[in-house]
């Protein structure tokens, strides 16, 4: 019986090759998108879940307030952990990790120094290995980061530094400073951790300098992790935190600082607090899942639509089978096994497509998702359920309707009433599909337009033809020599040494006190030299530029500070004395506003002044034509001065573009997925229109014999679809509009969604639909009635 069903299924497929292949292909596109997203979402959500304490680890984060605005940092004062452990009981274990240290590692080998630049360096203590699961593979497992000058390195890194993993007792120097002895080798970090450290150094070495800042200094990379197993401990901490802050900060708590326990499981997703690796906003996570479900849904609907349309043609077969003894369940079984088989095909093709596409997607997204998760029990179970559900729905629907037909009627194909009922349902499905397609198109349009908007928005400074690199050492004289030599290069227009470039992910803010009125404002600070404005094309509106000086005697402020401080005319700010970090000086110049942080945030009031203690970035403005060549020459000068360090530079416009990297990736991903959705939708539409044309062949023939023109027949077809399209639009537009408006809320500068925009998306979908439907309808309209009537 089953064999017979398979044979029938196969013959039906090969009889309608076009239908079969578009049907299977459409479904496999949907399933493979789903598989890819599944692997990706699995990867994203697996971050740091492997620790045995995963559900009990918390990070203590810090919130501060200024007015109604809330600022977030994942760091705590370096002095906090000790006080915390004393004041709260019941904490299983805790550890302070000071990450984000990158720098030069020097290994002496046979009298020769070898240099390595490393960014995965953190200072921490033994407790790290209690809190987190990271196996110590050789060496002792206790007292390995207890005393100063101890280091634990990963297996991979041991190979890199020393060429072997038998490295206990070997030494290296960090940042040309302290010498560290390796006490243990630990396993390499897995792909899915937000603690990607190759090298741990004893926190003892950092402790003194870090704690000197006391309770007022917070580094975002000094993060405090705790293992709390019991709920009452957690509660007592939560309720005791306010008193704790009050006890140690007292009157100094001007920013209304509060602390919060953040579960480890949220660290990968909560973009308000950074981590040591990268984050995926929970938005993106949800959008991805939503997109996958939508794609699968539209592909399934498509499949159901086409299958049912085809099964309508088989009522005669069903009638006969019933006459010869088949009962409803036999017939239903036949249809179910048929769709099951077709669906299985699609699943296999989807396996092939997605396993081929996986590496590209990883490359593209910069992720390391593993396709093999699909072959794990949970993955296979998911695929199996997808297969089962689609086969059941698309098979059940025709089997329920057709298997109930009166056999004699079915043989004579007199089942118009039932057919028309399925036709209405099918229309409903088409509306749903149109809706999804429109949803995707609107979403994609918004993304693309917002990206363009961000790219073309005025950022307040010149980003082209400026290369930047990091100063390896904080040696002022050396940096001045470097800048001077660079300036002498032909084709170098300008060189500036500063804290950061105008817009930078790392920013520094502090309080500016108006000396006269004693009013305080939070401002961004950009320590920089006198060439800063010219190098980055910042516009000086009033007053004078900075001068070369070693002590601060003047400030530059931005327009928005003038506004914030209540100067209606920014020029009036000139000469006003301001106290920043205890140094009183007048504002010498007012600079036009520019983005001082990433471009997603708003323009902030900013001060620029000479403070060489913070200088670490060199900006080089070059003649555009041969920028790379010029930078090669710059590299030679750099290597002369800093022979230990590699010369790595990047262009400012690329750096700026990186600010939107995640958006850029997401929009591309969205575009790809909406193309798939549109293609799948078109396939379904085409199938349906072919079916409709076949059903109406006779009607069209009769109408034409009675004198209808081709145009009138075409209208008959289009009317149907225009109505469906409009219904779908009415449903999709508000939903898509609402969600995209929500997404846009993350941006300080954003596009407006006007009615023209919606009209455009409607026309776009209508155009695509017409292209799909048009060919078949025209074919039907032009058909010779004598032929179409004869075939009846």
């Amino acid at each position: 019986m089953i064999y017979n069903n398979i044979i029938i299924a196969w013959r039906n497929l090969s009889k309608r090759k076009l239908y079969a292949s578009i049907n299977i292909f459409g479904l496999s596109l949907g399933i493979s998108s789903c598989m890819l997203v599944f692997a990706l979402v699995w990867h994203i959500n697996s971050f740091d879940k492997y620790h045995k304490n995963a559900d009990n680890i918390y990070r203590l984060v810090t919130n501060t307030f200024e007015g109604s605005r809330e600022y977030h940092t994942p760091g705590v004062p370096a002095v906090l952990p000790e006080a915390f452990q004393n004041d709260f009981s019941g904490i299983e274990s805790s550890v302070l990790i000071s990450g984000g240290h990158n720098g030069l590692i020097t290994v002496q080998e046979a009298g020769q120094a070898k240099y390595f630049m490393e960014s995965g360096v953190a200072y921490t203590t033994d407790a790290f290995f209690e809190v987190f699961d990271r196996q110590v593979e050789s060496g002792q497992s206790v007292n390995i980061l207890k005393k100063s000058n101890q280091a634990v390195i990963s297996k991979k890194y041991a190979e890199k530094l020393f060429g072997s993993t038998d490295v206990i007792g070997k030494t290296f120097q960090f940042q040309k400073g302290d010498l560290y002895a390796v006490t243990a080798v630990m396993e390499d970090f897995p792909k899915n951790t937000d603690f990607p450290f190759e090298v741990f150094l004893s926190y003892e070495n950092l402790k003194k300098s870090r704690e000197s800042g006391g309770w007022n200094s917070i580094h975002s990379d000094d993060q405090f992790y705790l293992v709390i197993k019991e709920d009452h401990v957690k509660e007592s901490i939560n309720s005791g935190l306010a008193a704790f802050v009050e006890k140690y900060l007292g009157e100094n708590n001007r920013e209304n600082r509060t602390h919060l326990l953040q579960p480890l499981t949220e660290i990968h997703f909560d973009e308000r607090y950074s981590n040591f690796r990268y984050q995926v906003s929970s938005h993106t996570n949800k959008i991805m899942i939503g997109v996958a479900i939508f794609l699968l849904l539209t592909a399934s609907i498509n499949f159901i639509n086409l299958s049912t349309a085809l099964s309508g043609k088989r009522s005669k077969e069903v009638g006969l089978r019933k006459v010869f003894g088949g009962n409803s369940s036999n017939i239903a079984g036949q249809f179910l096994s048929e769709t099951g088989i077709i669906c299985l095909f699609a699943v296999f093709i989807a396996f092939v497509i997605s396993s081929l596409a996986m590496p590209y997607m990883n490359d593209f997204l910069g992720t390391e998702a593993d396709f093999s998760i699909i072959f794990s029990p949970i993955g296979l179970l998911t695929v199996f359920s997808i297969w089962l559900i689609i086969s059941l729905i698309s098979g059940a629907y025709p089997s329920l309707i057709i298997s109930k037909l009166n056999p004699i009627g079915a043989i004579r194909e007199q089942n118009q009433s039932k057919q028309s009922k399925t036709y209405v349902l099918r229309k409903g499905l088409v509306v749903f599909q149109f809706m999804i397609t429109q949803f995707f198109i609107i979403g994609t349009l918004v993304l693309v337009m917002q990206m363009n908007h961000l790219r073309s928005a005025d950022i307040g400074f010149q980003k082209d033809a400026v290369a930047t690199f990091t100063l390896p050492e904080r040696d002022l004289d050396k940096s001045r020599i470097l800048a001077e030599r660079l300036r002498n290069l032909p084709n170098v227009d300008m060189v500036s040494v500063s804290f950061t470039e105008p817009a930078s992910g790392s920013s520094s803010s502090t309080n500016a006190i108006m000396v006269e009125s004693n009013e305080e404002y939070t401002v961004h600070i950009k320590p920089a030299d006198e060439y800063y404005l010219d190098t980055y094309g910042l516009e000086l509106l009033y007053g004078e530029n900075l001068i070369k000086e070693d002590t601060i005697t003047r400030y530059l402020a931005t327009e928005s500070f003038a506004k914030k401080a209540g100067f209606e005319n920014a020029e009036d700010l000139l000469g006003v004395y301001v106290n920043i970090g205890g140094i009183e000086a007048p504002v010498a110049g007012v600079v036009r506003d520019f983005y001082s942080r990433s471009l997603k945030s708003e323009i902030e009031p900013t001060f620029i002044f000479q403070n060489h203690h913070h200088f670490r970035t060199v900006g080089v403005k070059v003649s555009e034509a041969n920028a790379n060549l010029v930078m090669e020459e710059a590299g030679e000068i750099f290597v002369n001065l800093y022979p230990e360090y590699p010369f790595e530079y990047s262009f400012l416009d690329e750096k700026i573009a990186n600010f939107y990297e995640s958006e850029q990736r997401m929009s591309t991903l969205f575009i790809i997925f909406s193309c798939i959705a549109v293609v799948v939708g078109c396939i379904g539409l085409y199938g349906l229109v072919s079916y409709m044309a076949a059903m109406k062949t006779k009607e069209i023939g009769v109408r034409k014999v009675l004198g209808a023109s081709s145009a009138q027949v075409l209208t008959m077809f289009s009317k149907e679809y225009v109505a469906l399209l409009l219904i779908a639009f009415a449903l999709a537009a508000p939903l898509a509009g609402y969600l995209m408006e929500k997404w846009l809320e993350d941006y300080a500068s954003k596009i407006q969604l006007s009615w023209q925009f919606y009209l455009f998306s409607l026309l776009l979908v209508a155009g695509i639909a017409f292209l799909t439907v048009g060919y078949k309808s025209i074919q039907a309209a032009w058909a010779n009635p004598s032929v179409s009537l004869k075939s009846e």
Partner: protein, 224 residues
């Protein structure tokens, strides 16, 4: 074997009820070869469908060997239908996607006949109708007469006691028609009860009874 009492079937439209069958009484004995005759629309096919348990929408009483079919549950009726009746259509109605062999096999599959038995039944039928060489062909590769032979083979594969044929020769030319009727005669002689509906008077000569219908009623019942 079959007794019909006062069978009526009607279609109600908005303002009137029009009868397709009205007050049909009929007795069918085992081994009968009955021919139903009458103009189009007289109710021949409807009567056949009712007899063959394909149409339940009628009034009156239907007894199949003392069992009251009109009171039967769907499940039992379907069982009865499966075991006792075979069908032959004017337009052959073979399943286009199946070969000759598979078409004949279909009713056996629904009767859960085991594989070796199926093979022997089908082989015997193919042999009997001289179709052995054509067993792997599809219906559209056969002539009308051949298709109808396959139709008959399929109808009798499940060894039904009653064979119902609705205009079995309507689409055939006279030589083919004659061949089919000879087959019917043979089947009848070996014990199968046959009821056929036809327009062709000459076909009636193969049977033992001729029932002429008119306006949904039995007009004449002639023993031949």
């Amino acid at each position: 074997m079959i007794t019909l009492k006062n069978i009526e079937k009607s279609i109600s439209s908005k303002y009137q009820r029009s009868f397709i069958l009205k007050g049909v009484d009929m007795e069918i004995h085992e081994g009968d070869f009955i021919t139903l005759m009458g103009p189009s629309g007289v109710g021949k096919s409807t009567l056949l469908n009712i007899i063959g348990l394909l149409d339940q929408d009628y009034e009156g009483e239907y007894f199949f060997e003392e069992q009251a079919v009109h009171d039967m549950k769907e499940k039992n009726r379907s069982k009865l239908h499966k075991s006792e009746f075979g069908y032959i259509f004017q337009a052959y109605h073979l399943i286009d996607e199946l070969t000759v062999y598979e078409n004949i096999e279909t009713p056996l599959l629904y009767r859960n006949t085991n594989s070796s038995e199926r093979k022997s039944i089908i082989a015997e039928l193919l042999d009997r109708f001289n179709m052995v060489a054509k067993k792997d062909l599809f219906p559209d590769q056969l002539s009308g007469g051949q298709q109808q032979l396959v139709g008959i083979a399929r109808a009798i594969a499940g060894r039904p006691r009653i064979l119902l044929a609705d205009e079995p020769t309507g689409n055939l030319h006279s030589a083919q028609a004659k061949e089919i009727m000879e087959v019917f005669k043979e089947l009848n002689e070996s014990g199968t009860t046959i009821i056929q509906a036809t327009h062709a008077r000459e076909n009636a000569n193969y049977g033992n009874r001729l029932i002429e219908m008119s306006d949904g009623k039995i007009f004449q019942n002639i023993q031949l």
